[in-house]
Assembly symmetry: C2
Amino acid sequence: MIINPETIGYLAATLTTASFLPQAILTIRTKDTESLSLSMYSLFTLGVFCWLIYGIYLSNKAMIFANAITLVLATSILAFKIYNILFKKG
Amino acid sequence: MIINPETIGYLAATLTTASFLPQAILTIRTKDTESLSLSMYSLFTLGVFCWLIYGIYLSNKAMIFANAITLVLATSILAFKIYNILFKKG
């Protein structure tokens, strides 16, 4: 059986994005960010942004697809975290 | 200022790998996996494995570097989780 390498790329994109979804849904639904680390999410969000830029440079659709979705989710979580730090208790 | 696109790739690789390190160190040090999700880590580990294979196919060093390190860390966490489920309380 020969697997198209691009299929591996899309499988990778789907799996890592899907693994991030439950945390994103939980945070967006509850707005509770107390157990999340600001420094970890800041590094992660900036990293995903860089992967997206790099994916656009490589014209790699699997990288663009995965990182665009993850960036929206990670930015939402980070925004809730920063809002809670500024206006609530953490 | 012109930034080399490969630098963006390595920056992305370093940032997302670094953001995963604190969780990995905490889990490997404490061996406590109760608050970690088996399904989430299974999807993530399989996804990182696919990104590594895809990176090898693309001969992309930043992708290989980031995903090889993350795969070792994620597999260690998953192994602790499965061990704890089988022999301890979760």
